[in-house]
Subunit: 580 residues, 2 copies
């Protein structure tokens, strides 16, 4: 990873590409790379769809190596959804492939002169960019099939569906998985709309002939990796819960805790939760045969293996095993308890290229406005179809919950900085509320997953219903997360490293053995702080103030059943999160 | 004007009203009253459609008196369009009527328990509030006819059309004129959506039995009024230009100056300008007989008389004589040069209750996205019909240009703080650009009408194409305007008082004679500063920073024909406007 591929779409003679040395960006990976490039090169006040914005795609520091769990990829830009800096993170194959080809970052900049979908092919010989009108308004599934037919069964794809082409603010970027399906998405913040504005429909990555990245100290690296994997297997969440049921293992947990946002965050428990839980999903998958509930990784090198496959009633592949957030967004949050309908919505989101969290939250807001009924699965499917077709209604919904609330005059819109809250009600899980409010990303559970400590007793215990201790908890998790997001490691490694000091040490040994460094825990913390400060400075220059570090007012006023709680972490306390 | 009527819509037994003494609000009128009440009583971070927001309607200090030009009214709230504080100003009859009834302000607060349109009747005996489902989704014209039938030919109406009921962010509040037609609108910032959120469809004002407000010093007042009126008649703009052609006299002036935003601000001159100019409008009206181009006031006591009546091809009343901003918004900005179509669009805006500036700007953005063609008048009418019907497309458009740009992925969206720019391109009229950028209102020409000095040589001369001197110009005008907006005076009195020191003195004498004060010019300036600072503090608490005091970036990059100019007042200079 000693070079950057920069593609300028603005050329009068069509897009131009160049390979550059890392320069000032040397030593950066993942979110550290994307946020540093965006902060350095994107004017904070530019229009997110303008030529001035840039789309940065960066594998993690360890991506492309033999390190377990190192296949995550970061996508950065100024977000069309929030207006602030964005890092959206995905699994899939392209991270490892780009890293093996030596690219620490891919930067798309400028804007094309003509409205033509471009195809970018990256292989060991460089980049090949061509206009291809036959790709126009293809869904991700058809698009990836077409690329497979053209480039073979081993390439990886980074692509947008119809939503990205329409530059909708809920548009995602798809990363193909081990089965060459477009199921892993950099979902949040409308990164797909920025790719659409750059005119790039698909990036095909062909790593044929590119070797695995070698560690500087092979002996130390190998030993550390072994200890690290053993640590992951030893922890109950990464060793048992996630492999057994996937992320949807959380449905029953969060619902029982009374923090499961139901029907657009009206209550904290869903009477249909047990019908859409991870346990119910596993049973359904087993009954349908095939691979059943057997799980696998979203990228090569994964040892947690929380992904799965969803087959329809006829035993045909429909979509990946829907993640917890998706099951919640299209399920409980819309009052829907039908796993087949939820899986269908997941498939549609992946195909159109949409963030499942944003779309579930948006459909729930639309339901609150009365244009569909809570619990009406077919109504939800019809609404999502509108997005794929690009009808006016579809464009409203594809612009996310904040716009939908504005257009339909709905007051109860669960967003922060314009981005929808995920699957934990901040009134009953107050630590995650602090993260929603203060992360530079807009409401985002992955930015500082306080749910772990609030509900799962991981990394200590902090009462989810009390405002006490949540600021420190969220701050520490936000810092640690920013650092992990730089490594290319899956965020789920946080569970064992928070609980098991030896596993944290083996992660440090792994990084040090790979890069020939001698990083300490303090260095990791310093890296996380640096990333966050940079992101926050970008947002500040873009116009954000502490008044944007707030949850919507109604969450401080409307008590949430069953606990009868409001969000009561004070504004002063929220303003302390970034005092570091 | 010694009392406030406060109506709380939240009561479990229905809305409650109370008459209160002025207390801390004594001595305030118009914008001074609305902005002070909003700053004191509305939480800056509340949702604009929530029960926490308040709608404040306040006659000016001189309203209800015999002072010429004193019939303007201010409407204040937190704006659903900008998210900041809002004062929208209108003519019509209700200002004089409310003032004669003794009300310095009408405050609507809370939110109704049920979704029922309410009718409020205000007369000398108090307030009478009743639910009336027969009013639901009536346009302003039918609504006012119904009120006339119910309450007689002399009442005034303050009302919302379908747009306000739908809580659309471009919704206006209509004030009936001297002919009891809903043609005068507090247009900007979505104040109609706040009235809709309060559940109030119409406020009927009956001033029967309420006397004109007497001056403290009748002799001084009468003499000052005489001198003031003479001053207005002496000035070429208020004495000749406006009476002859109405506000649309500006079309040729601004177009010749190359500052007429054409086809969504793509160029600065419109080839069809002469076909929609004030001169062409007067000729058309004369040819159609009736009152022809004879002008009249929008409220009793007006001596400028820039309003008129537009009859259709069959000689039937269609709408008021469209104002310059409306002719521009639906005309040149959409590439339309057909006065009948423009008048039809004006009528529809008034009937649905929509801001003509916002709607014209929005339709132009929609045209840029390709869903209609520039110049297609019937296409524009069809788009506006969608708003009245409340279709998804109509709701997008009725949410204003910023939302429409977001939903359709358009980058060139001419808004500041979410509000559309009016009829002067800030690249060729840089003083008004400074006002657009820095006023707490969002892009608003009336907040500091630098066009007067840039293009009309009123109040001095400042080269419109140079960045020099624009900051001082805009600052001084913003301060003066805030003070005038407190008096209830029509803003057009600014032309003579800027040019004629004796007319300014007669205005001071008029205020002093009426209120028994001895205000000086410095006191007026101090009042203006106080209002602006209060508004700016509200916005700051709501989350606005200097990065919001900026024009969209493309105006600094895309040169405007014919002068080839960009907006080049520096950010540092813009940040100086509020250094007072």
């Amino acid at each position: 990873m000693d070079k950057i591929l920069r593609i300028n779409m603005s050329g009068a003679d069509g897009p131009q590409w160049a390979i550059e040395p890392l320069g000032a960006y040397a030593g950066l990976g993942g979110r550290a790379m994307t946020s540093t490039v965006v902060a350095a090169e994107v004017p904070p006040t530019c229009h997110p769809l303008s030529a001035e914005n840039k789309l940065v795609i960066a594998p993690g520091l360890l991506s492309g190596s033999a390190a377990a769990m190192s296949g995550r990829i970061s996508v950065g830009c100024k977000s069309p959804l929030t207006g602030g800096i964005k890092e959206a993170n995905a699994g899939g194959q392209p991270s490892q492939m780009l890293a093996r080809l030596g690219y620490a970052a891919l930067i798309l900049e400028g804007a094309p002169q003509e409205d033509t979908p471009y195809k970018v092919v990256i292989n060991k010989d460089g980049a090949f960019i061509s206009a291809d009108n036959s790709l126009r308004m293809l869904g991700n599934y058809d698009l990836v099939e077409k690329m497979k037919a053209e480039f073979g069964g081993k390439v990886g794809c980074i692509s947008i569906g119809q939503a990205g082409e329409m530059k909708l603010a809920a548009a995602s970027i798809a990363f193909s998985d081990m089965e060459q399906r477009p199921t892993r998405h950099a979902g949040r913040g409308g990164v797909g709309a920025v790719m659409g504005a750059k005119g790039v429909k698909v990036i095909v990555v062909d790593d044929a002939g590119a070797p695995m990245r070698p560690p500087k100290d092979p002996v130390a690296f190998k030993a550390a990796n072994k200890a690290f994997v053993a640590g992951l297997r030893k922890h109950p969440v990464t060793g048992q819960g996630l492999p057994a049921y996937g992320t949807n293992v959380l449905t029953n947990v969060v619902n029982e805790a009374g923090g499961y946002p139901t029907r657009n965050f009206q209550t904290g428990q869903f009477e249909g939760a047990s019908r859409i839980s991870g346990e119910a999903l596993a049973e359904l998958e087993n009954n349908r045969g095939g691979e059943g509930s057997a799980t696998h990784g979203c990228h090569r090198g994964c040892v947690i293996r929380c992904s799965g496959t969803f087959y329809d009633k006829n035993g045909r592949f429909l979509t990946k095993q829907p993640e917890y957030e998706t099951v919640w967004a299209h399920g409980g949050n819309c009052g829907i308890d039908d796993l087949d309908a939820i899986a269908q919505l997941d498939r549609m989101d992946d195909d159109f290229g949409l963030d499942t969290i944003e779309m579930g939250a948006t459909i729930a807001v639309a339901m609150e406005s009365g244009i569909a009924q809570f619990g009406d699965a077919q109504g939800a499917i019809r609404l999502l179809e509108e997005v794929g077709k690009g009808t006016p209604l579809g464009r409203i919904l594809g612009s996310g919950a904040a716009v939908t609330g504005k257009v339909f005059g709905v007051e109860r819109v669960p967003v922060v900085k314009g981005q929808s809250m995920p699957a934990y009600d901040p009134r009953a899980v107050k630590g995650i509320g602090v993260t929603y409010a203060t992360t530079p990303m807009g409401a985002d559970h992955t930015a500082g997953y306080a749910v772990a400590t609030n509900l799962l007793s991981i990394g200590g215990q902090v009462d989810p219903l009390s405002p006490k201790g949540q600021v420190e908890l969220s701050r520490n998790l936000q810092i640690a997360t920013a650092a992990i997001d730089a490594t290319g490691m899956c965020l789920f490694i946080a569970f064992p490293i928070l609980d098991q000091p030896d596993t944290f040490q083996s992660l440090l040994d792994l990084i040090n053995g790979f890069a020939g460094l001698s990083m300490t825990a303090d260095d990791v913390t310093a890296l996380g702080r640096t990333i966050l400060k940079q992101e926050r400075e970008f947002n500040s220059a873009a116009g954000f103030t502490k008044s944007h570090d707030r949850l919507p007012e109604y969450l401080s006023k409307e008590a949430l059943a069953p606990h009868g709680v409001v969000f009561d972490v004070s504004d002063q306390a929220l303003d302390e999160v970034y005092n570091f």
